[in-house]
């Protein structure tokens, strides 16, 4: 908007010192915004690039991607998806079943734990909360081996679910814990003073207020559990193999277009989940949590 009636950029004026500092802040904020925008784009591109490559591979007929192709399916058509589905349908089912078990259990264990850590702190609870985060940085192989060593006799599906819970419960504890921090601690005592018994406090106050963070936790657990590879690959058996583990086999054994098509299939339910997380993380989320 050059040539408007606005004065020259205030940073170049030599006005009163107080004004100067405000102007300086404004220009810093503007350039800061520019840097932030550029950075966000870089990060987004970096994250999206592999998906773009996979998508291109799935729909491309170019032999560039398919140099290892055995010609098992005609590339460049939707038929490829059906092919993948028919071959890896079982592992898709396993992954779906895993998610169906892991999401509710992660919430049922993680949310009460977060509540206990933040609302009923006991001696050593801070340490315990920190310790509960360690699985996040545990190599999948270590987790898988320790699960096999301790619960080796259990069905493979149970072991898989256990591995996924170890990775996802910390996420729930973190998300719900943060939500608990962000609303006034006195609202539960307030509800009690107004006549709400323990059950009514939970049903009418605690759970509704935590609901956005519970939904976000569920979606996070879903995306992590759906995509978890390291531990799942090591814990997999021929009958209980999660989709990412099956995907590995596809990438190594089949052609790239087939694997890429499988990847797109894999991403299909993740994208809406991520969009939902983003949406809930916005206005309604804050509205629910701000006091």
């Amino acid at each position: 908007m050059a040539g408007s009636f606005l004065p020259a950029p205030p940073a170049h004026e030599p006005p009163a010192p107080a004004r100067m500092s405000v102007a300086a802040k404004i220009s810093t904020a503007a350039s800061g915004r520019l840097v932030a925008t550029a950075l966000s784009w870089c990060v987004a591109l970096f994250l999206i690039a592999p998906i773009v490559v996979a998508a291109a591979g799935a729909f491309s007929s170019s032999e560039f991607y398919g140099h290892r192709s055995e010609g098992s399916a005609p590339p460049g058509s939707l038929g490829l998806f059906w092919y993948v589905f028919s071959v890896w349908g079982r592992s898709l089912g396993t992954s779906a079943a895993l998610v169906a078990v892991v999401v509710p259990f992660a919430l049922l264990i993680g949310a009460p734990a977060a509540y206990a850590f933040r609302r009923r702190p006991f001696s050593g609870s801070k340490l315990l909360e920190a310790a509960s985060m360690t699985p996040l940085s545990m190599p999948g192989i270590a987790l898988a081996v320790s699960l096999l060593a301790t619960l080796g006799g259990a069905p493979r599906f149970t072991l898989l679910a256990g591995g996924h819970l170890a990775y996802t419960i910390p996420l729930v504890i973190r998300a719900v814990g943060n939500a608990l921090e962000s609303f006034e601690p006195d609202i539960e005592p307030a509800a009690r003073s107004l006549g709400a018994g323990p059950w009514q406090v939970a049903r009418w106050i605690t759970i509704p207020v935590l609901l956005p963070s519970l939904v976000v936790s569920a979606l996070l657990v879903f995306t992590v559990s759906w995509g978890e590879f390291n531990a799942s690959f090591l814990l997999a058996s021929p009958l209980a193999q999660s989709f990412p583990a099956a995907l590995y086999v596809t990438y190594t054994a089949n052609s790239f277009p087939v694997a890429a098509a499988a990847t797109i299939l894999f991403l299909l339910p993740v994208v809406p989940a991520l969009v939902l997380i983003q949406a809930i993380g916005g206005e309604p989320f804050r509205r629910g949590l701000q006091a």
Binding site: R192, G197, Q290
Partner: protein, 390 residues
């Protein structure tokens, strides 16, 4: 008087820290009792124990003669306004106010009617459908009050309801809140650290310090006849001097460090502490003066002039008319208003009266901008210099 709410030897300790120390008090029915004290004196803990939100370490809470110590909070019928209001963030104004009724399974139509009625009482009916995040501090405070009274509790507790508002708004809402609370005529306990708020709201005033009630009674009574140094210093400003009562020429005389005056009625012979409020000292003509004092500094407060004087090694605060013609270093004649000196016995010359805990509230004038306030200390020369150069 029929006491509805009663605390008996109520005690709360956290490990070695004693928050409330065997507090006993009867809160008169239908009246407002203001509990005032510095932060950390156990006011909020007392309130939470009355509400049943904190379990006492000892003692009991009684409502209408019934021991309710073991009764859970949700069965006590005690409304509470929290310091941070603690409005439910996921409910709108009306739903917040209806909450107590919802817990009591009041029908929807009746609930609405009573919420509207209560909101009208606090003049918030036009904002019933607002989200609480959209409210200003003053509006939140009113919703919190409406929520606490909508279910018609037996007792209302307020925990510093004005403290999170800025000074101007506080002033504005104070009158409105006080009028409303008096209209409600419900047994009310009002906790605050603000002495002006406490004295103006309460039918009854209780001054708390270190987990105990130091003194209670009608506000004017507590202000005029504080029972110890802490109460004297916490409510308003006080001049406190070591003094002696002795019989001279057949009359009981009070010997202050800088003057000898007639002892007040009821005084007994012996060493004592004498307390005189700044407003009970007046600048008078020399012939009517009880003593002479030099002006050390003065503070213009708008509606009055606060003088820091020095006489016989003691520092004295005097509140004077704001149009007093004042010359630097002037010597003024000061008169003590009849019957306004409060005496406490003084066991040994070095000790200070009971309740000597508050910072800067040692014997001597409090609430002056500078100076140690110790009347026994030698006159600090630099302080006098400073006063002259003002």
């Amino acid at each position: 008087m029929n006491a509805l709410l009663e605390a008996r030897s109520l005690r709360k300790s956290y490990g070695a820290t004693v928050a409330v120390d065997s507090l006993s008090h009867s809160f008169p029915e239908g009246k407002i009792t203001a509990i005032v004290g510095p932060s950390g004196s156990g006011k909020t803990t007392t309130l939470w124990m009355i509400a049943g939100l904190t379990e006492p370490s000892g003692g009991s809470v009684r409502l209408d003669g019934r021991d309710i110590t073991a009764l859970p909070a949700h069965r006590r019928e005690i409304g509470i306004v929290f310091q941070d209001y603690a409005l439910f963030p996921h409910l709108n104004v009306r739903e917040n106010v209806e909450f107590g009724l919802r817990c009591r399974h009041v029908r929807r139509a009746e609930r609405r009617r009573r919420a509207a009625e209560t909101l009208a009482l606090v003049r918030m009916e036009h904002l019933a459908e607002r989200r609480v995040q959209q409210l200003s501090g003053g509006e939140r405070q009113r919703v919190a009050l409406a929520r606490a009274i909508a279910f018609r509790p037996r007792v209302l507790l307020l925990d510093e309801p004005l403290s999170s508002l800025d000074a101007r708004l506080r002033e504005e809402l104070r009158g409105e809140l006080f009028r409303l609370l008096r209209e409600l005529a419900i047994t009310t306990v009002y906790v605050t650290h603000d002495q002006v708020e406490a004295m103006s709201i309460g039918h009854e005033l209780a001054v708390m310090s270190s987990g105990r009630i130091e003194q209670s009674g009608p506000p004017a009574e507590v202000y005029r006849r504080p029972e110890n140094l802490f109460v004297a210093g916490f409510l308003g400003s006080a001049n406190i001097f070591p003094a002696d009562c002795a019989v001279r020429n057949g009359r009981l005389d009070l010997a202050l460090p800088f003057a000898a005056v007639d002892a007040p009625a009821g005084a007994s012979v012996g060493p004592c502490w004498a307390m005189i409020r700044p407003e009970d000292l007046e600048v008078v003509r020399d012939d009517g003066a009880d003593f002479q004092a030099a002006v050390e500094s003065s503070l213009f407060l708008g509606n009055q002039l606060r003088l820091l004087l020095r006489a016989g090694g003691s520092r004295i605060i005097v509140d004077a008319r704001n149009d007093l013609p004042l010359t630097e270093g002037a010597i003024l004649g000061i008169g003590i208003r009849a019957g306004k000196v409060v005496l406490w016995p003084r066991e040994d010359a070095g000790a200070s009266p009971k309740g000597h805990e508050r910072d800067g509230a040692g014997p001597g004038p409090s609430e002056m901008p500078r100076g140690s306030g110790n009347p026994d200390a030698p006159a600090p020369q630099e302080s006098l210099e400073g006063a002259r150069s003002r």
